[in-house]
Symmetry: C2
Amino acid sequence: MSETVKYLLSEDRIPKAWYNLAADLPVPLPPPLHPGTGQVIGPDDLAPIFPKAVIEQEVSTERWIDIPEPVRDVYRLWRPAPLIRARALEKALDTPAKLYFKYEGVSPAGSHKPNTAVPQAFYNKQEGITRLSTETGAGQWGSSLAFAGSLFGIEVEVYMVKVSYQQKPYRRALMETYGATCIASPSNLTQAGRDILAKDPNSNGSLGIAISEAVEVAASRSDTNYALGSVLNHVCLHQTIIGEEAILQMEMAGDQPDIVIACTGGGSNFAGLAFPYIREKIKGSKVRIIGVEPASCPTLTRGRYAYDYGDTGRLTPMVKMHTLGSTFMPPGSHSGGLRYHGMAPMVSHVKELGLMEARAYHQTECFAAAARFARAEGIVPAPESSHAIKGAIDEALRCKVEGRAETILFNLSGHGHFDMQAYTDHFSGKLIDPTFNQSALDIALSELPNVG
Amino acid sequence: MSETVKYLLSEDRIPKAWYNLAADLPVPLPPPLHPGTGQVIGPDDLAPIFPKAVIEQEVSTERWIDIPEPVRDVYRLWRPAPLIRARALEKALDTPAKLYFKYEGVSPAGSHKPNTAVPQAFYNKQEGITRLSTETGAGQWGSSLAFAGSLFGIEVEVYMVKVSYQQKPYRRALMETYGATCIASPSNLTQAGRDILAKDPNSNGSLGIAISEAVEVAASRSDTNYALGSVLNHVCLHQTIIGEEAILQMEMAGDQPDIVIACTGGGSNFAGLAFPYIREKIKGSKVRIIGVEPASCPTLTRGRYAYDYGDTGRLTPMVKMHTLGSTFMPPGSHSGGLRYHGMAPMVSHVKELGLMEARAYHQTECFAAAARFARAEGIVPAPESSHAIKGAIDEALRCKVEGRAETILFNLSGHGHFDMQAYTDHFSGKLIDPTFNQSALDIALSELPNVG
């Protein structure tokens, strides 16, 4: 029987500033390099595709960056997001550990992605931009930008990774309901897409390819900017509202996490919850920070820390990050949002500094964890978020073996209402673990740019 | 640009009691009659399929009924539900009216239905019941009972109207994720189902048929009770938590509704929001109360107020209600939750007493209203809830013509994340308005039982 303990902030306690980890890093982040020249790039290089305010945030080392009132105003539609003690799951696991989760699925798009979609739409609107192009994997980001675009009157064009476009028609319908246009990527609308299709007409697509297409459109049209849903510093920045709220809510609970867990794809929901705790860790806290990624796309656990392109078409700047190589094609999985060859440079840097751990799980064990969670706590998780749940359950079971009452906080970054086909496949035994192709990884790593 | 104004109660203000309109009705509700004998039935007649606590609530005339602590405990997972001022929609309509909506889509199942699923599961658990059978139309109710069953450790068997079972596979997957069993109705597992299939092997099913199947199973197994998601007094009672919260939130807003609007299928989300306001109306308030139903299943606007069976198989008691006749087969539509031949006796009674108005809309105009709402307010409504939105928009446009700044409160009873196929059909122009068959209605009304 459930005993819900939910910690809900009052609206006036929605944080008024985002936290910028760059201000507290013991070693500064390696700079991005120009994709053509290999030279360190400056703000001007980004001006054709991003608004000025966003570029400033991308390179800022200010510790706190004010959240504009119109952004907080939209945040209020679903924020503060609840922090919930997973007592029923604790009982089901018979663990002395205390499990808490921050639930970001309460947003209208069903995930944490609107936390950055809204400010990105706002800053673009402020600077007179009328169109945004973007990529999306599973569709969480695309539908979030479509949502934000509809509120601010900005047209949104989404390049959706083809395997997800076909697998998740309802995510596409959601984008269209918000008035956005959704295109299967690779498409023949861009040179980047045509190049891929010429090589492989049946390409399933990837986030790397979709980014190339969206960037190409933004670079070639003056009315259009580009918006990215993860990886970049300003995206991680916007997501810190999650962790800042969580800190206040853990105080309400009279508790402190010993372990903070989130799934990692591009790194944004992880950064959102974890960066404020990494600040505390830098100051001396003993908190453990764990990123959980899919074994089929193991950027942090099997990738190389090196300069690489953010996209397959090599249109974006090179950034230093954990990467499987921008030419690596991750196998299709139901966690489209985690299917990216790279990792946020800031997250990668934190990993290199020893401020976080990483581990990888197979999708079938994550779905089993998700179903266990749903039946105990009543919320059906997004496949991406199920990785964090699996990580939290494993830590809770370790606590049981060791007889330790540790406090575990994880990010439930989204609900799985658009992913029910995956659950159906899981229950019918049709779900398989995609094979990881080591030789393809070796080839892709050998093709990394020779810089930095 | 959005200017969200959300009124969120603190958790300690979740109401501690449900409101029972029976205590304040100027004329008592006509009693239910035995389906076989036509005599007034007593609590004992309901004992084979309902727990004692629920039967007591069904016939109670106490004004306030305490919400058990374990139920409030689960409610806290998503309650208090937000009340939101729809400023962006007001601007889009250029109306002087003020629009507020109560948003029940924040529950884990995505609608208001868990408000009664949770107490029903709780009371059954308390009385040692291990299995519940039920029916569902679009799947909102079935998934809510599956959710509640999983939290309280009760097995749930759901008879889902066949047209929805086929149209909404993801609702079914949601029920299965919560561990429930879902069966397309009419099925060959029950006599009621076999009788229908013998007459019409291709039957699309209806709520009336699915109720017969679920009741038959409960009546024939001692470990199994039946749970109904709408219509009955105790269901309306449990839903009043919506209106009681709304009253507190409208006070926070410093405002009072001139008009309260909700969609009506079986009547439960309408009762939930409206009954507390009808109490005020009985006491002298001038508030207008409007129920909005689909033109394809126009119970309140074209049905007869008469004694009728709640199901097609004539297993349930006869209740006095607005009905299209228990043999009437409403055409398929995307608002499966509103596709019921009858109406809650309490709602029907309120309509007869002149305490509410009713109107009917076609589904295409409701989807157009839903898309308009989604693009302004960022939330994609359930097709059922879109009827309330259409009603609210029409009233807001009337206010514009009349230059009146009335305050309109409507119930956004659920989100549409499982109904995206319907939105796809709407945008592609494939959605049609089902034809209403007047001669079929005449025949069904001629078959009403000759009692009362």
